[in-house]
C-alpha cells in the first residue's frame, strides 16, 4: 500500500457563529497516487473537508478546530496557506470565481509569479499545464471566450502548474453539461495516472465517480459513514438511500431486479459491467405485453408563442437562430442542450430581459417586447441558474416577502404566503438567517420560495438542480410537479436528464442556438444521436434499454430503472 499523503486525525471543526460541527471526528488517510471520491448529501461537510486540506479551514474562516490534518508531513495549522498551496491545488465548483487574468496563459502563470518562480520555468510550466488539460493553442484567448468545460480545465491547469502533490476538486462538474463533466473527470484521471497526482474529488456525479474513482468516502453530517471501492459503495443502495445519495442507474436497476428475486450475480456500477448481464436478463422476457404509457398531448391554445426568434449579442455572437415554438397552458417542458446552446437566452426573451434581434415572443397573444418586465414578472416566475444573483436581502424571510411588500400586499397576507412558501421548500426554520450563509442548495430554494409567493402562471427553472444533492433536486422537481398539477406551466432547463422522466412531458433539445428536436420525452431521450450532437448523454436506463433492443429488437424504448424492473417483473 502506498504511503499516505494526507492524514486526517480526529478532525472536528465548527464554523464561527455555528453551534453545529461541520466535521466531527474524521479519521482518514489519503494515499499517494489515488483518486478518492467524496460523496454526501448537501450540507454533509464536503466543502469544509476539501478546504481543510490546505488550511483555508480553519485559518481563513476561524472557528474551533480539533485534531490534525497533515499533508506531505505538514500540519495545516502550523503552516501558512500560501505554503500549503505548493502541495495542494484546489478547483472549485464555479470556474468563474477562480479565473482572474485576461488571457489563458496569464491565468496559469499567476500563481507561479506569486511564488517567485523564474520566468523560463514559468513558461515551461504554463506549456505543461495547458497541454495536460488539452488547452494548448488557447494561450492568448480570454478565459471568458472558453466554454464551461474549458474554463474548468483552465482552472485545473492553473492548479497543476504549481505541481501540487494533491489536487482537490469541489463539485467541479455541477455547472457543466454531461460532456463537459466527463471532460473534467477524464482530465483528472489522466493527471492521476500519468503524473501521479493524488486526486480528491467531491461530486454528485454517480456514474462518473463509479467509473473514475479508486475509493469513495461517504460523508454525512460531518462524519465519515462509509469508505470503500466504487463497487462496494455504489452497489450498497441502502447506504446511498440512507444518505440521500443517488446510485448509478445501472446499479439501482440491477439492485431492484435482485430484490424482485431475479437472479443477479452482482450489482454492476458501470455500464460496461452491466452489458454482459443483459443477455441473461433478456431470457426472462416477462414483459412481452408491457404497455408504455404515453403522456396526453397538450394541444391547447399557445400561452407562449415564439416565432422566427433570432438573437445576436452586441459582440456579434448569434445565440439564437430562427427559433419557433409554442408552449400551451399547463405543459411541462424540458429544455436541454449543451452549455452555450442558447437555452437561457431563449427563456430570457420570455421575460423581456432580452429583446429579439428578429422575430417575436408572445405571451397570451401580447408581444413581450411591448410589455414591462415588471408586468411579465407577475405572470412568469424565473428561477435563475445562480441563486446568488437573485438574493439581496439580509434574512431569508425578508427575501421571500420582498416582492409582496413592494406590490403592496397586506402584511398579514404577505407573512402567510411567505410562511407557506418557506414550508413548501423545507426552509421553515431559517427565516431569520442571512441567505448567503446557507448552502447553495438551500439558497436555490430560497429563490424558488421568493418566486412561488408571487403565484405566477408560468415558472421557469433554469438549471434548478445545479449544486443540489439527489434529494434536494428531487424536492425541487416535486415542487415543480405540484405546481404543474395546479395548472401552472412549467419550463425546466437542465443537463440532468436522468431526473426528468418522472416530470417532463415534452423535451426541446437545443444546439448552437437552434432547436434540434421537439418531441415527447420518450422519443427525445431515445434520440441518442441527436442528444450527442449537443453533448448530452442519455440516462443509463435509456442506454440499457437500447442495449436490450440490440439483443431483442422488440424490446420497448424504456426510460427509467423502474420501467426496466417492471418490464422484467
Amino acid at each position: 500500500m502506498p504511503d499516505p499523503i494526507t492524514v486526517f486525525k480526529d478532525v472536528s471543526y465548527q464554523y464561527p457563529q455555528s453551534s453545529d460541527f461541520a466535521l466531527i471526528n474524521v479519521n482518514l488517510e489519503v494515499y499517494e497516487g489515488e483518486f478518492l471520491g467524496l460523496i454526501g448529501p448537501t450540507g454533509a461537510g464536503k466543502t469544509t473537508f476539501c478546504l481543510a486540506f490546505n488550511g483555508i479551514v480553519p485559518q481563513f474562516y476561524g472557528g474551533r478546530f480539533f485534531g490534525s490534518v497533515t499533508v506531505a508531513g505538514l500540519d495545516t495549522l502550523d503552516h501558512p496557506i500560501s505554503e500549503m498551496a505548493r502541495y495542494v491545488g484546489m478547483v472549485f465548483e464555479d470556474p468563474e470565481t477562480q479565473l482572474i487574468a485576461t488571457s489563458v496563459e496569464n491565468e496559469v502563470a499567476f500563481a507561479l509569479e506569486n511564488l517567485k518562480i523564474h520566468r523560463e520555468e514559468i513558461i515551461e510550466r504554463v506549456s505543461y499545464a495547458l497541454s495536460a488539460v488539452r488547452l494548448a493553442g488557447y494561450e492568448k484567448k480570454h478565459p471568458h471566450e472558453l466554454s464551461g468545460g474549458e474554463k474548468q480545465r483552465l482552472a485545473i491547469a492553473a492548479a497543476i502548474a504549481v505541481k501540487p502533490s494533491l489536487l482537490i476538486f469541489d463539485e467541479p462538474t455541477s455547472q457543466l453539461d454531461p460532456a463537459g463533466a466527463e471532460e473534467v473527470f477524464a482530465t483528472a484521471k489522466a493527471l492521476n495516472r500519468e503524473s501521479g497526482i493524488t486526486i480528491v474529488m467531491a461530486s454528485h456525479s454517480a456514474e462518473e465517480m463509479a467509473t473514475f474513482a479508486d475509493r469513495v468516502v461517504v460523508l454525512s453530517q460531518g462524519e465519515v459513514t462509509a469508505l470503500g471501492t466504487p463497487e462496494e459503495i455504489y452497489s450498497d443502495i441502502e447506504l446511498l438511500e440512507q444518505n440521500s445519495l443517488r446510485p448509478p442507474q445501472v446499479a439501482s436497476t440491477f439492485y431492484t431486479l435482485g430484490k424482485k428475486e431475479i437472479a443477479i450475480p452482482k450489482v454492476p456500477v458501470q455500464m460496461q459491467d452491466a452489458i454482459p448481464l443483459l443477455v441473461d436478463l433478456n431470457q426472462i422476457r416477462s414483459g412481452d405485453d408491457y404497455a408504455i404509457e404515453t403522456p396526453p398531448e397538450n394541444k391547447g391554445k399557445p400561452l407562449l408563442s415564439v416565432k422566427d426568434l433570432t438573437h445576436v449579442y452586441p459582440d456579434g455572437t448569434k445565440a439564437l437562430h430562427e427559433i419557433s415554438l409554442d408552449i400551451a397552458k399547463g405543459e411541462y417542458v424540458l429544455i436541454a442542450g449543451q452549455n452555450g446552446a442558447g437555452k437561457t437566452t431563449l427563456v430570457k426573451h420570455f421575460l423581456n430581459l432580452l429583446q429579439p434581434t428578429q422575430g417575436s415572443v408572445k405571451l397570451d397573444g401580447n408581444n413581450t417586447k411591448e410589455m414591462a418586465v415588471s408586468e411579465l414578472a407577475h405572470r412568469i416566475g424565473y428561477v435563475a441558474q445562480n441563486p446568488d444573483h437573485q438574493i439581496f436581502n439580509a434574512t431569508v424571510g425578508d427575501e421571500i416577502r420582498f416582492a409582496l411588500n413592494n406590490l403592496g400586499f397586506d402584511p398579514e397576507e404577505a407573512e402567510s404566503r411567505a410562511m407557506e412558501s418557506l414550508e413548501a421548500m423545507g426552509l421553515g426554520g431559517v427565516q431569520d438567517v442571512h441567505p448567503l450563509t446557507l448552502p447553495k442548495g438551500d439558497r436555490a430554494r430560497v429563490v424558488i420560495s421568493a418566486i412561488l409567493v408571487m403565484k405566477p402562471d408560468i415558472i421557469i427553472f433554469d438549471e434548478p438542480t445545479t449544486g443540489q444533492d439527489y434529494l434536494g433536486a428531487k424536492q425541487i422537481l416535486e415542487i415543480s410537479r405540484d405546481l404543474h398539477q395546479q395548472g401552472k406551466t412549467i419550463i425546466v432547463i437542465t443537463h440532468h436528464l436522468y431526473l426528468m422522466p418522472d416530470y417532463a412531458d415534452r423535451v426541446i433539445v437545443m444546439g448552437k442556438g437552434s432547436i434540434l428536436l421537439d418531441e415527447d420525452i420518450r422519443t427525445a431521450f431515445h434520440a441518442t444521436d441527436t442528444l450527442a450532437r449537443t453533448y448530452l448523454l442519455a440516462p443509463q436506463a435509456v442506454l440499457l434499454s437500447q442495449e436490450l433492443q440490440k439483443i431483442n429488437n422488440e424490446f420497448p424504448p424504456l426510460l427509467t430503472p423502474e420501467e426496466i424492473v417492471d418490464y422484467f417483473s
Binding site: 486525525k9 480526529d10 478532525v11 472536528s12 464554523y15 464561527p16 457563529q17 455555528s18 453551534s19 453545529d20 460541527f21 461541520a22 466531527i24 471526528n25 488550511g55 480553519p58 485559518q59 481563513f60 474562516y61 476561524g62 472557528g63 474551533r64 478546530f65 480539533f66 485534531g67 490534525s68 495549522l77 502550523d78 503552516h79 501558512p80 496557506i81 500560501s82 505554503e83 453530517q221 460531518g222 462524519e223 439580509a394 438567517v433 442571512h434 448567503l436 450563509t437
Partner: protein, 262 residues
Amino acid sequence: MAEKIPVGEERKVEFLGGAAIDGAPITYIIVLAAVVVALSFFPMSVILAIGGSFPMSQGILGLVGWVLGPIAGAVSSGIGATIGVFLAPHTAGPIPLLRIWGSLVTSFAAGTMVLGQKRRSWWFWAWLYALLSFLYLVGRALFINGVGLWPVFANTFIDWSALILFALPTRTLFAKWINSKQWGLVIAGLGLGTWMAYGITHASITAIMYHMFNWPEEVWITLIPLIPFENLMRALVGIVIGGGVIAGLRALGLVKPEHAIY
C-alpha cells in the same frame, strides 16, 4: 451533529503567513481601502474655511479601525485616502497630505478602542497627540490671533467632546456597544464612536490648518453650526455603512482580524 463530542485535541486557530498585517488579512485591508477610495468620490459638505468639500469616506474611517485594528486600519485608510486624493481631487481639500494623515489617524484612534487587556494603553498616545494639537489650536486662536473665548469654545465642540469621550470609560463603552449582539447598541456605538474617532483627528488637523491659514473670528463664528453638523453626517455614514458591514461580516462568519472589535 451537535450531540457528538470531538475526541481530538482543540487547537489554537490563527491566520498564518505573510498575507496579513498585524493580524488582519491583506484581502480585508485591500477591500476596505477600496471602499475608502470609492467613497472619496462623494462630497459630503462644503468646509468654508478651507474652501473644499470632504469625502463620504471620512464616515467609515472609524469602522476601518474597528474591523482591522489600529495598525492595519491605519494602513488601509492611508492607502485608500492616498488613492482617493488622486482619483477624486474634488474632495481632497487644499492640502491632500492632511486628508491622508487625517484618515490614518482616525482609523488608528478607532483601532485603539480595545476590549481586552492587549494594547489597552495605546489610546493614550492618540489622545495625547490630539490634546496637544487642541491646546495649540485654542492657544493660538485666543492668545495670538485674539479670537473670543465663546467662538473658540463653540467652534471646537467636536474636538473637546471627542477628547473627553476618548479619555473617559465611554471609549471602552462604545467599543462594547459595537461588539454587542443588540443592534440598538451597535448603532449607538457606531454613531458615537465615529463622532469621537473623527473628533480626535479633527483637532489635530485643524491645528495644522489654523497654523497655516489663521482664519479670522468671523469664520470661527460661521463654522459653529457647520462643524458639528458635518461630524453628525460622518456619524450617520458610519452607522449606515458600518451597520451593514458588521451585519454582513457577522452573518458570513469569516475569520475576524485579530484586533477587530465587532
